[in-house]
Symmetry: none
DNA sequence: ATGTCCACGTGAAGCC
DNA sequence: GGCTTCACGTGGACAT
């Protein structure tokens, strides 16, 4: 992930190692390369000194017999130590980044990293589902009925199983006037579907008058189009019919 | 996150500790409570035995002088060790869960946990932006002006900058009757917004009559509610007003 | 007092 | 060989 930039080995690039720090590195290790020497000397001379202020005591080097391998081991060890510390710091940053992205109700009571990661998992799942249904909703709004599962193509214009219901669309001025005469009862005919269809087609309903005849309804709707060039009366008529009978 | 269930202390509940295991616990620690004894004995007798098969050597117990504190320390130590191991395992599971949720192109070349978390962060950001624009797109289609950026909370009920426009909502039978009288010109008043709001509130518009007076409009809308218990006339009136003036 | 959580240093395994 | 990553055990901080 991140590599060791030159001139930065064995010391820290950031002034504060960690906001926690444990006071492990009181004064050496931040002054330059000399600190390495002192650390190495300290470690290599850690035979049985039980001073408890230098707490880390990795013991001598019982690898296969090689000269100066003790010092080299110590060098690699503290190099490794620093690298590992950087890695931990990066992980910590990622934890906070992840947590900062979560909505507040997902991060409310939880405080541990485990909880935050669990909530991140939940949130991603929730988000994926959200996107999924938004997409399907959008496709449904755009009335692209998948083009593959429209088995209603037979009834799109036939209108035989539909009780007498006529829809006419006429272009007037900068919009349309729609006349719907139906013999349905009130509870069966859904004016909302027509209105929703018009809204989706960017047709702004100006007036809507419903007159109640004894055996049915007559709806007269005036709507103005935001873009007359996109207005196709025949297509609109077909869609409205489909919206009514569906 | 997870607590220690009774009868499970000091041993593992799962048969495989970790799919990696490092062969740290070859035969004891999985046979029951006796292993604790042996471990303690081993640790307490780790004075200067340099057999390298028992690699962990936390040294004796240089706390303030107390009898049997060595054994108690060792007990707590290996208890702590097991708990910590469980915590790590849970973290590891969360890592894999998180990674499994990412799309393949986000996880393709990366293999470290750092990379996966970084990609999780990116993915969440990408997802949030996606949802955002899907929502705005939907609202644009529905002609709902975004509801989240309506800084019109100050004008929600004041209606001072609004030319005389009154909205009344009355509950009748299984729905509502809405009267909107406005002095706006035709092009300024958007009936569609009212209709869209009603549609979103699951209110099924039955009739909508608009009468054109010389200086304004009177709209009478009848709508039936799918769920009367969720119908709040005052709230609906407020929302309709907001929909009109926004 | 007890439990939870985090950072540390370290050894080892994997990958160039 | 070096370099990176991971799991480990441990101590200490914090909360309960």
């Amino acid at each position: 992930m991140f590599t060791l930039q030159p001139g930065d080995e064995l010391v820290f690039g950031t002034p504060s190692i960690s906001e926690h720090d444990h006071k492990l590195f009181p004064d050496n290790l931040i002054t330059g390369h000399a600190c390495i020497e002192t650390n190495i000397i300290n470690f290599s001379s850690s035979s049985s000194n039980n001073n408890n202020e230098q707490r880390d005591l990795p013991r001598f080097r019982p690898r296969q017999g090689q000269s100066r391998s003790r010092d080299e081991y110590n060098i690699r060890r503290i190099l490794h130590r620093n690298i590992e510390r950087r890695r931990r710091q990066e992980m910590s940053n990622l934890y906070t980044s992840l947590r900062s992205l979560l909505p507040l109700d997902h991060v409310k009571g939880r405080r541990s990293v485990c909880d935050h990661m669990q909530e991140a998992v939940n949130y991603i799942q929730h988000m994926q589902k959200n996107v999924q249904e938004l997409r399907s909703h959008r496709d449904k709004l755009k009335k692209l009925p998948n083009l593959s599962s429209t088995k209603a193509a037979a009834v799109s214009n036939g209108g035989d199983n539909l009780p007498n219901c006529s829809v006419t669309v006429e272009v007037i001025r900068d919009g349309v006037e729609i006349l719907i005469s139906s013999s349905m009862k009130n509870s069966e005919f859904r004016l909302s579907r027509v209105l929703a269809e018009l809204l989706e087609r960017q047709l702004n309903v100006v007036t809507c008058v419903s007159t109640n005849a004894k055996e049915g309804f007559l709806h007269k709707i005036q709507a103005e189009a935001s873009d007359m060039t996109k207005l196709d009366p025949l297509l609109l008529q077909e869609r409205l019919t489909k919206a009514i009978i569906s």
